[in-house]
């Protein structure tokens, strides 16, 4: 049995990685649940964002300031992507295949520009660590947690309390009826798809701050984040964060108690159990 300090540290790191799962899952879940768009390219977009952060900070920009460029650019990309899906009436499943094609293209582009070697963003954030009792809390991870919590809460409130959110939920449930009641479903869908892609950009910043980058890493997150999205409930804004932290913590504890390589078993067993026992909850 590992020491209490070690357990506390892995609990903390579980919360941090869980926040990143939640942040990555947030855009995915909203686009899937409310637009019927299963965007596998979300992961590739996040890595593209991470590489752009890396490149821009090489040029002297503060990593956080890169968001000013990445967020609008990604928003436009997400809106364009949904325009394409709407134009060709792509079904949910086919959107998965199309975005797989997109993933392959983005991966190739990343490899073309930045090569397949590992890249590491060297920023002043990376060296900052806070001490809390026996716990070490690195600033990049803390930033990720703050961003994930703030964005999830903001979107949750927007969906729940604003007219925009209500119209969006109505058109997700039945687009033709919502349109008959005066909801501009098309514009809302473009907006949401844009937000979703912009969220991938934000997640990319967090990845760049805490992790080493390589094009092959794109696929490493797919399984666990999909599990987070399903466990959190499709179309939910708070669900991914909660599910992400649950999975992150249970993975971290599994890794601390047994071995790190056993960690994936937890999230996927949870997902299987959920799918088999409560499929109607998704």
């Amino acid at each position: 049995m590992p020491s209490l300090a070690l357990l506390a540290q892995s609990l903390a790191s579980g919360i941090f990685i869980g926040a990143l799962y939640g942040l990555l899952g947030l855009g995915l879940s909203l686009a899937w649940g409310l637009l019927g768009q299963i965007n596998l390219a979300h992961f590739a977009l996040a890595f593209l964002g991470a590489y752009l952060t890396y490149q821009l900070s090489l040029a002297g920009l503060d990593p956080l300031a890169t968001l000013a460029l990445i967020v609008p650019a990604f928003f436009a990309f997400g809106a364009a992507l949904h325009w394409l899906f709407a134009r060709f009436a792509v079904s949910a499943f086919n959107s998965l295949l199309v975005t797989f094609g997109l993933t392959v293209i983005i991966e190739a582009a990343i490899q073309w520009i930045w090569s397949a070697d590992f890249r590491r963003l060297e920023s002043h954030y990376a060296d900052v660590r806070y001490r809390l009792g026996t716990l070490y809390i690195p600033l990049p991870e803390l930033l990720t947690l703050v961003l994930a919590v703030v964005l999830s809460l903001a979107l949750w409130a927007a969906l729940r309390y604003t007219d925009f959110g209500k119209a969006l939920r109505a058109s997700a449930e039945d687009a033709p009826i919502a349109q008959a009641f005066g909801v501009n479903a098309k514009a809302l869908a473009l907006l949401l798809s844009g937000i979703s892609a912009a969220l991938a950009g934000v997640a990319g910043l967090c990845i760049a701050l805490s992790y080493t980058l390589a094009p092959s890493q794109i696929y490493a997150w797919v399984g666990v984040v999909f599990a987070v999205v399903m466990l959190g409930g499709l179309g939910s804004a708070l669900g991914p964060l909660v599910a992400g932290i649950v999975i992150g913590v249970s993975e971290a504890l599994t890794a601390a108690i047994t071995a790190p390589s056993w960690a994936p078993l937890v999230s996927f067993s949870l997902l299987i159990a959920l799918l088999l026992l409560r499929p109607e909850k998704i």
């Binding site: 299963i38 394409l84 060709f88 792509v90 079904s91 949910a92 499943f93 086919n94 998965l96 295949l97 199309v98 797989f100 094609g101 997109l102 993933t103 392959v104 293209i105 991966e107 190739a108 582009a109 490899q111 073309w112 696929y219 797919v222 399984g223 999909f226 599990a227 399903m230 071995a259 390589s261 056993w262 994936p264 078993l265 996927f268 067993s269 997902l271 299987i272 799918l275 088999l276 026992l277 499929p279 109607e280 998704i282």
Partner: protein
């Protein structure tokens, strides 16, 4: 059928002579990869393409084969070729074990099934990584003897993969042509209706999964020795299942040859680019092609270019089909004995008591009208009798069989057929195929050729023969209602359950339909029909059963029942004046 298989095997024999040409080894290695992907994509398609259960877990079954060969050859010293049947058996067993759970647990379809299978492969990967099967560093097969099927090792692998590809394609073709394939295509379009028409959906899905897994397992076994170094990261990479899906969709999932074409195209494309200096650009090109194909040809290359060819009926068949219904020998003679008896049937949905102890008896040759206000439980009763829902309580017996615990396809086989109030044809099957399927899987249980003739006859009878080759979406509502009827009749049922066949039809169409129902009874089938068109009820029914709030409130001859105050009140409310 034999000709296609003959061509396939002839092609196989011709290709088996390629090593005699003594080409440079990389040609054989390239062709090996083509055949390898053909096996994987085609085997995936047998379950996922045909039945619409898209699996992302193909890597798990392929991986089972890889690690079975790796373990058996290195740790148990088993000769390589002997491990291949073990690979296939293990993968099939693993698949069936998963299917037995998944296919029973509700209707997990589409993205959810894809995710579930993906999760299963990640769990398997984690287990293999952390147990002595792999343990982390991977397994090297460098010391394993390569069987001497040909002078060189590349030729041996080429021949092995070729044989696997030919066998896989032959199986895919045979499945598509067999009843299994027909049933799987029906499951793809509407699983509930398939089951109600008599397709044993659960068994068919398991069979398709077992075949699919066995082939993938064998391919994995061969590939383990080909790569000679097996790692968890490579084996269970998400790229494997995604590539398989990509190839199949690219080629066309509704045709046995589609995945093979997709696999050959993608492999060739990647190889051409890898051989040049533009490997990265090559992958991007594949991604772009995938996007373009899905957007512009969602049916795949084959689906786009192989048009549905309507089978022209020979003159003989049409002469046959012109036979009037009276010429058909009745399957049973009306005798007045009890055919269906339901006692105390109850069913509730989340607190709503849809049926609260309904008793119903239907005698042979009788037409029973089931009436009652909306929400009184008429359709639920039909759904319970046909096996779509299982009753919470009570007993239902039909022609000496207890239906209470039977699944819907067994009930259909016993001789109960139904129509749906809102027609539910199989969207991707032609009108003729829709009806043929009912004749194959229903009470009639005919072999395909006979079922096709039988279907022609009922299409003629319902005036749908000119539309035989059309897809259901090309029919209007009236025609789709008649397609429902033709499908139910082709099953040659003893008891026909009609759920509001007349709703939405014009008065003239109703008259035609009434004549048709009378005609059907003349053949000897008993009929229970749910109807709101009272004119039809009064004309057709020998006896009326009135339901209200899930209970029978009146029963008897049409004129007597419709005069009763309780019935009038149930429909119109209490008179207070």
């Amino acid at each position: 059928m034999m000709r296609t298989l003959g061509t396939l095997f002839a092609a196989g024999v011709a290709l088996a002579c390629v090593p005699l040409l003594k080409l440079p080894a990389f040609y054989e290695s390239f062709l090996y990869l083509v055949f390898f992907w053909i096996v994987l994509a085609t085997s995936w398609n047998i379950l996922s393409g045909y039945s619409g259960y898209f699996s992302f877990g193909h890597g798990a079954f392929f991986g089972t084969g890889m690690y079975a060969t790796a373990t058996l050859t290195t740790k148990a010293g088993m000769p390589f070729l002997w491990t291949l049947p073990v690979c296939a058996a293990l993968a099939a067993l693993f698949g069936v074990a998963i299917g037995a759970v998944v296919f029973r647990a509700g209707r997990l379809r589409g993205e959810l099934f894809a995710l579930l299978t993906l999760a299963v492969s990640y769990v398997l990967a984690t287990v293999i990584l952390n147990t002595p099967i792999d343990g982390g560093p991977g397994v090297s097969l460098a010391a394993v003897a390569i069987p001497q099927l040909a002078p060189t090792a590349p030729s041996t692998f080429y021949l092995l993969a070729l044989a696997a590809a030919i066998v896989t394609l032959a199986i895919a073709y045979a499945v598509q042509r067999a009843a299994l394939g027909t049933g799987l295509f029906a499951i793809h379009d509407d699983e509930d209706v398939a089951e109600v028409l008599g397709v044993p959906t659960y068994r068919y899905k398991l069979a398709a999964l077992a075949l699919s897994c066995a082939l993938a397992g064998a391919a994995g076994g061969i590939h383990a020795l080909f790569v000679s170094y097996v790692t968890v990261g490579e084996t269970f990479s998400i790229v494997v299942p995604l590539s398989v899906v990509l190839m199949s969709v690219l080629g066309g999932t509704r045709h046995w040859l589609g995945p093979a074409i997709g696999a050959a195209l993608v492999t060739a494309l990647l190889y051409i680019f890898t051989a040049s200096d533009y490997a990265v650009a090559g992958r991007a090109a594949v991604g772009l092609i995938l996007i373009v194909v899905i957007l512009f040809m969602p049916q795949g290359v084959l689906g786009r270019f192989v048009r549905r060819k309507p089978k022209p009926a020979s003159g003989l068949e049409f002469a046959h089909a012109n036979a009037r219904i009276q010429d058909l020998t009745p399957s049973v003679t009306p005798s007045g004995e009890t055919l269906l008896s339901a006692h105390g049937v109850s069913k509730s949905f989340a607190g709503v008591q849809a049926l609260a102890g309904v008793d119903l008896e239907v005698r042979r040759g009788e037409i029973v009208g089931l009436v009652g206000p909306n929400g009184s439980g008429k359709s639920t009763l039909i759904n319970v009798v046909s096996g779509h829902y299982r009753a919470d309580g009570g007993r239902i017996a039909f022609a000496g069989h207890d239906l209470t615990a039977l699944s819907a396809h067994r009930i259909a086989r016993l001789g109960i057929a139904r129509t749906y109030q809102i027609p539910r044809p199989f969207a991707h099957l032609s009108v003729h195929e829709n009806v043929t399927l009912a004749a194959m899987f229903g009470h009639a249980g005919l072999p395909r050729a006979a079922a096709e003739r039988e279907a022609r006859r009922w299409l003629e009878y319902t005036a749908l023969a000119p539309k035989a080759a059309a897809l259901p979406r090309e029919l209007n509502l009236h025609q789709r209602k008649f397609l429902e009827l033709a499908r139910a009749l082709a099953a040659r049922p003893q008891l026909l359950l009609l759920d509001e066949v007349l709703s939405g039809l014009t008065p003239a169409e109703i008259d035609g339909a009434i004549a048709l129902v009378k005609d059907i009874r003349a053949q000897g089938a008993s009929i229970v029909f749910v109807e709101h068109v009272m004119r039809a009820v009064m004309q057709l029914a020998d006896r009326i059963v009135v339901l209200s709030y899930g209970r029978v409130i009146a029963e008897g001859s049409p004129a007597a029942v419709m005069g009763r105050t309780a019935v009038v009140e149930a429909y119109l409310g209490k008179a207070h004046a």
